[in-house]
Each structure stands twice: as C-alpha cells, then as structure tokens.
C-alpha cells in the first residue's frame, strides 16, 4: 500500500487538477482539444516557464528574485544589439548569458554575503537593469534583428517550436539540478533551515550566490528566446515575468518558506495558467471578466492542491505507522 500511495502524491494532485481543467475545457470549447491548440499553449507558456524554473531555484533556497523579468528584457535586448553588430549568433548568445550571470552575481552578492533581503535587492536591480538598457538604447526598441529570431521562431524537425524545445531542455536541466546534484540538495537544505545547513557544513553563502547566478543565466536565456519570438529587442517586455513566474512556481507546489518544490511541479503550475488563459480566450470571455475569473481560479487551484496535500500527509503517516507496527 505504502509503495503505491507515497511517491509524489503532490505531483499527482497537480496532474489531476490539470487533467480536470483539460476535461472541462474540452467540453466548453470544441476547439480546445486539438494538436495545434496544445502546441500554442506550450509555445505561450514556454518563456514564463523558463523564468519560473529560475524563480523556483531561488524560492526553494528561501529567497525571491524579482529581477528576472527586466533582467530577461535587458539581457535579451543586449544580445539582439550584439547580434545586429556582429552577426554572430553564438557570440550574441554568450553575451546574453554573461550579462545574466553578472546581474545574478550582483544580486547574490548582496543577498548571500551582505545578508540583505532579496526582495529589495532584486527589486532594485530590476530598475537598474531596465535603466541600463534604456540608457544604452535611448529608450528605443531594437527592430530588424534578422536571424536572431531563430531563437524564438524556428521549429526543430519541422514541428517542435524552438521555444518549447528550450523549455523542455530547461525543465530537464532544472530537474537534474534539483534532484540529482548536491547543489540542488543543498538548496533544499538551505531553504528548509539555513542555520542547520550551515551547521551541517553546507556553504550557505556560496550556494545562495550560485543559485542567483543560475537564476540570472536562466533569465537571460528566457530573455533571448523572448526577443527571438518577438522578433525585436524590446526591453520593457520582460517586466511582469517575475510575478508570473512566482505564480507558476507556487501553484506548482513550491513553498514560499523555502525548502520544498520541484521542477516538474513548476511546469505543471505554468501549464495550469496557460490552459486557463487559453480557454478564456477561446471562449471569448470579456477581458475584465477574465481578470476576475483568473484570480479566483488561481486561488481555487492553490486551495485544491493544499487540500490534497493535507490528505496526502495523513495517508503517508498512516502508511508508515503501519510499517512501524508490523
């Protein structure tokens, strides 16, 4: 019995919520359950999902990263500028990554080593990022980015949109990072109890710093894919992604207090929001009504997940109690 119930009931509960939504949506709109629509949904969530993976790492370690959105906007736009200047996609991509890592390192420096609240530091870095790119471009967007758009608009094997491909790759990377590397496990430990982690010999500052750098890298990737998809370098487009990323992460079961969460959960959380946005558009629901509905459905999703979680833990304890007694 234990074996069946125990593994990852939380994930299952999200899968169930998602399946339930898909079921309801299929009934509500006949256009919903089609391959193209699913591809659309995946395409539409891909960038925010990559941001959410970044956010997930940070939230698991007990912090928050509000710079993700504008960092993505800045790194993506600068990568466009680099591409326009050099015509070298690889160079442009590397430049974007470098920027992401740099901003991440600055965030991490203040949060991990100077022990400042990450909310404020990353919020401040948000405006710094946006200021820097605007200062450079004089507030103009970058059009005519030519082949840079392959990063967001091409298709692999003729069918897989590249943004989806990027998302899947990041999912796999994040999953491995969190589940199978020591770094990932340390992040859980730090988020769960930083003092205990320190006492156990985990280098808390270094790991947090590293987490912010990884988050910066992820954000930069999201930014470059975004600009590719937008076919332009538009710094302001990044704004707001950090919040959407948080929403996806938390719906996906990542605990705000740190120490818990998975890449797969984040992915599911993001899909839930994607499906919600999609169906409301398919049904042509009034924009304002959409806001209200979306707000409540997000609350309901979190609620449902929280109930199933309570259910789970009691089942689990029972299971192991039986185990002990036999």
């Amino acid at each position: 019995m234990k074996e069946i119930i125990k593994p990852n009931l939380r994930k299952y509960s999200l899968v169930l919520i998602l399946l339930g939504m898909i079921g309801i949506c299929s009934i509500l709109s006949s256009s919903f359950l089609t391959a193209t629509n699913f591809t659309n949904i995946l395409k539409q969530v891909s960038i925010v999902t990559i941001c959410a993976f970044a956010q997930g790492l940070i939230i698991i370690s007990g912090e928050i990263d509000l710079s993700i959105g504008f960092l993505a906007g800045m790194a993506g736009s600068f990568a466009c500028i680099m591409f326009v200047a050099t015509g070298n996609l690889f160079l442009a991509f590397m430049f974007g990554l470098l920027l992401g890592a740099t901003v991440g390192a600055v965030n991490g420096l203040f949060v991990a080593y100077f022990k400042l609240p990450s909310f404020i530091v990353t919020l401040a870095m948000q405006t710094v990022c946006f200021g820097i790119i605007c200062l450079y471009t004089g507030g103009q967007n970058i059009y005519k980015i030519g082949n840079f758009k392959v990063l967001g608009q091409s298709k692999l094997l003729g069918i897989i949109p590249i943004t989806v491909f990027f998302m899947i790759v990041m999912l796999v990377i994040t999953h491995i990072l969190l589940k199978y590397t020591k770094f990932g496990r340390y992040l859980y430990a730090i988020g769960g109890n930083a003092e205990a982690a320190n006492a156990a010999g985990v280098q808390v500052c270094k790991m947090k710093w590293a987490a912010f750098i990884v988050s910066g890298l992820f954000a930069a990737i999201a930014g470059m894919v975004m600009m590719g998809r937008l076919n332009a370098g538009i710094p302001s487009e990044g704004g707001g992604y950090e919040t959407d990323a948080i929403t996806a992460t938390v719906i996906g079961g990542t605990s705000f207090s740190g120490g818990a969460g998975t890449a797969f959960g984040t992915f599911l959380g993001s899909l839930i929001i994607g499906v919600l946005n999609n169906i409301m558009n398919l049904l042509g629901i009034d924009s304002y009504l959409q806001m209200i509905i979306k707000g409540f459905i997000i609350i309901i999703a979190v609620l449902a997940d929280s109930f199933s979680k309570k259910q789970k833990s009691s089942i689990k304890i029972m299971a192991s109690t039986f185990d002990v007694k036999k």
Partner: protein, 497 residues
C-alpha cells in the same frame, strides 16, 4: 599512542559576544578514546565552546590542537572533514527533507556532484536497521516527534567515521530506553578510540558515562580532572558556587478535592482510553517511553491538538478543549515540549515573551506598558533569568535561560491546572532546584500540576502520584509510597492494556 598526546587540546579559549564575555580563558584536554563531560550552569558558555571547536563561531583568542597539531576551522565543513561531528543543543534538521537526506546532508554518496539516491537510501536503511529504528528512510522528518528526531541526530553523529564527537545535551528529550541505547553506542565507539565531548545537566548520566570532567562557570574552566575526583555534591558546589543539600524540595501539602478529571480520552492514532485526574495541591507525573503519547494527551487537553472523544471536567464543570486561548480562559496552562518551535518568539524581547499570554498587563485592548515592565522584571528576577537585560531578544539567550523565560510567561497567569512538558529540559541543576521550589510553592497555593518528564528521578522526587503510559494507553498509576524505578519501567514497557 602515548598518554602524553591528547586527542584534542583547547588552550586559553576566549570569546565575547557584543556585551557578553561568553568564554574567558578556557582550557580543556580530551584524551583519546574517552568521554569528557563538560558541565556548568545555564549560560556558562558550554554550547559556545562547542560551536567554537566546530568552527561555527570564531574564537577571539586561544588555540585548538587536534592530535597535537594546531587547527583552525573556518566552518563546520572543515571541522567535519577533520573528523569532528556535533550534535547541537537546539536540534538542527531539515523538515521538508527525508530521513535519509537528513542523515546524509553534506555526506551524500555522490559522483561528480551527482547524488546517488539509491545508494543513499540503502545506506540510510542500514544505519536505521543497525540502530533498531523502524522508520522508512523516505519519510519526511517533519512527520516525526521531537524525541525521534533527536535519536536520528545521535545516529547521524555516530554513523560516520568521526574521531571526535561533540554532544550538546543529547538526552534532553529522550527517555531512559534511548539513553541506554546511546550509552551502549558510546561505549562501543570508545573502544574504537573515538573521543567524546559530552555536555549534560543530568548528574547520573555523567557519572555513568564520563571518564573526565571539566566544570565551566561564568565562561571560565574552573576545574578539570578524572571523574573519580568528583562527587555529585562537589560538582554542584563548583558549578553554582554553593552546595545544594536536597535537590528535590518535596514538601507535603494538604491535598484537596479533584480539580481536573479526564475520562476515556481518545485521539485517533496517538492515544486511547486515557483517564486521569489531578487534585488541588497535587503534583502528578506522567512517565513513559518516547512516543508513549504523554505529550499528545496533554496537548489535547490544552487545545493544541484535536481530541476525538472523552470527557473532561474542571472542578466538576464540563470542559471541552477548543483552542489554547479557550484553555487559558479555563485556567488550564501548559508549557510545551519543543521550546524552539512552540515556545519562544525568537526575535522579540524577553519582556514581550514573558507577558505574551498575560491579561494582567493589559487594560482592555491596550497594553499597560509600565505594569508590563514591572511585572516582567519581577518575574524574571524571581526565576533568576540570566540575560543582558529584559529587552534582549530571547533568541540570543542560552537554552536554559530561554526555558526560564517561558516558565515566567506561564507563572504570570492564574491557573487551576498547570501542565509542564519536560519543564527542566536543558536546565542546570541550580535552576532545576528553583523550578522545583516554584512547583512546590504553587502546590502549596493549591495549584494542580501535571508534569511530563523523561527523567525518572525527577518524577520520583517531586510527584505525589505518577501515571505511566505505554503505546497510547495508561498502563498504571503509582502512589508516592509505591514509587520505585523498576515498577515504572515495567509499566512503561507493557504493551497491552
């Protein structure tokens, strides 16, 4: 190895916190393959010293020699690489992670940075099996009661090849059975040449396990030597600077009628058919092994945990526990077991912690700040809390002093029934005496006191009656004239009702 080379030498260690000189020129030598006990009052600086050895704190002055070579650890990582393991006084665990990961944190079997999960689970299972602990290593540790977590801490510290194991009050929340297991392990490891630094406030344990002893007072190492040089009285005299005649100041007080009575209390999974009563002026103990369900019963009475069925009367009037504030209104009070989790508000001042539950320092919805200050000061003076001032945040106090502040919180209130769950956990012997004195005073005033303790001598010394629990049932009740350690143990291990 010659006698001359010590496993570890601490020379002239000093350490100041802002405003507090926690350690002042401490010297300790640890012989290989021995247990070196360190005793001292609450706030004497024991934990601080251990944390310095471990690299968690930086010492101001002094040297640490390991195998004759000077070492200096910049953090727990380095010290554990050098073969030092430590059990912290305040339990340090990762609630959301599995038992296996808690055991293997920082030591995960891995290859090129990748954790080998299966191997880790297998090894964890082996460690658990070896220690006769029947948990599933995949279980999250937050689902375990505190005593079991402490057992895991112990298991964890001894499972890896440490040469020096530091134990800071390892037995503060486990019962005799587990203590015996621990001691067996220590003896076994001693034979393998492993050395121990052992901090405890329990005298009997120290005489049972220690080879050498150092006494710390006010941050100074007062005296050091083989255990045979010491007697219980001499240790106490050195520790508190005076001698204590009778540690259990039990006074016969007239016992009144029944104040509290519970009939057939049940709670799914944790206890069944628990009936007990406490009379005016009576101190009633609850004994049992770890996980017997004592805490659970009391928590239910206090409204902290749900109660499924059963009846409770207070002075004859029916009482259904709803929540804590309801319990307090009905003059049922309880000091919880897990000080850090359910006791202190770490970031707030001692003053606020003391007066948190008190209605006396308020007028209507407003606080009476003057009265609050006065009463909090009085109460902390009465309990001889050692702090830099009443506005100090409670989190920076030593463990024992935190406990006293919590005691002060509840003594601010009137009560009919006072429940104490491990009230002397982590408390030094002098302070224990204070607490016992207070209990006696309260009993004289007509309080009914229900005390859970894993220290049998304490129960035997202070109680009028003792209920014994085992596996969620009350297996017996002993009156004072029938008190005997064997009888309690017998009832505590009985599996049937």
């Amino acid at each position: 190895m010659t006698e001359k080379v010590y496993k570890m030498q601490l020379e002239n260690i000093s350490k100041s916190f802002p405003g507090v000189k926690a350690l002042d020129d401490v010297n300790i030598t640890l012989r290989a393959g021995t247990v070196h006990a360190i005793v001292g009052e609450n706030g004497a600086g024991k934990s601080t010293l251990m944390k310095i050895i471990n690299g968690l704190y930086k010492r101001d002055t002094g040297r640490i020699l390991l195998d004759g070579k000077e070492v200096s650890f910049s953090g727990p990582m380095e010290s554990s690489e050098a073969g030092i393991a430590m059990i912290y006084q305040e339990l340090n665990y990762f609630p959301e992670l599995t038992i296996a990961e808690n055991i293997f944190m920082k030591r995960q079997p891995s290859k090129a940075g990748y954790v080998k999960w299966r191997e880790m689970m297998d090894q964890a299972q082996k460690i658990l099996d070896y220690n006769n602990l029947s948990y599933d290593p995949k279980m999250k540790i937050k689902d375990l009661p505190i005593a079991n977590i402490q057992m895991l801490e112990i298991v964890k510290a001894v499972a890896f090849k440490a040469q020096v194991i530091i134990m800071d009050e390892p037995t503060s929340s486990i019962s005799d059975k587990e203590v015996k297991m621990l001691f067996d392990t220590i003896v076994r490891l001693k034979e393998q040449g492993i050395s121990f630094l052992y901090i405890s406030h329990k005298m009997d344990e120290i005489f049972k396990i220690a080879d050498d002893l150092t006494i710390i007072r006010d941050g100074k190492s007062i005296i050091s030597g083989p255990i045979s040089q010491f007697t219980e009285d001499s240790i106490i005299a050195h520790m508190v600077g005076r001698s204590i005649e009778n540690i259990y100041p039990k006074v016969k007080v007239p016992i009144g009628e029944i104040v509290f009575e519970a009939k057939k209390l049940c709670s799914e999974r944790t206890f069944k058919d628990v009936s007990l009563h406490v009379k005016k002026g009576e101190i009633v103990g609850m004994a049992g092994l770890v996980g017997a369900g004592r805490s659970e019963v009391c928590r239910s009475i206090f409204g902290l945990d749900p109660l499924d069925s059963g009846e409770i009367t207070l002075s004859g009037k029916p009482y259904v526990p709803k929540n804590v504030s309801h319990a307090i209104k009905n003059k049922v009070l309880m000091i919880t077991e897990d000080r850090k989790k359910e006791g202190i508000i770490g970031v707030r001042s001692c003053r606020e912690n003391i007066t948190l539950a008190s209605h006396r320092v308020r007028s209507g919805i407003f606080m009476n700040l003057k009265k609050e200050m006065k009463e909090a000061t009085e109460m902390s003076d009465k309990l001889k809390v050692r702090f830099a001032g009443i506005e100090t945040t409670i989190g920076s106090l030593s463990g024992g002093n935190q406990q006293k502040v919590l005691l002060a919180r509840w003594l601010m209130l009137e009560s009919d029934l006072l429940i104490l769950d491990e009230p002397t956990r982590g408390i030094d012997i002098g302070a224990k005496l204070e607490i016992y004195n207070i209990m006696t005073d309260l009993a004289k005033k007509g309080y009914a006191i229900l005390m859970i303790s894993s220290e049998l001598p304490e129960l035997l010394g202070m109680c009028d009656r003792i209920y014994v629990m085992s596996q969620g049932y009350i297996t017996g009740c002993l009156d004072r004239q029938d008190f005997a350690q064997e009888k309690v143990m017998q009832l505590a291990t009985r599996s049937e009702k």
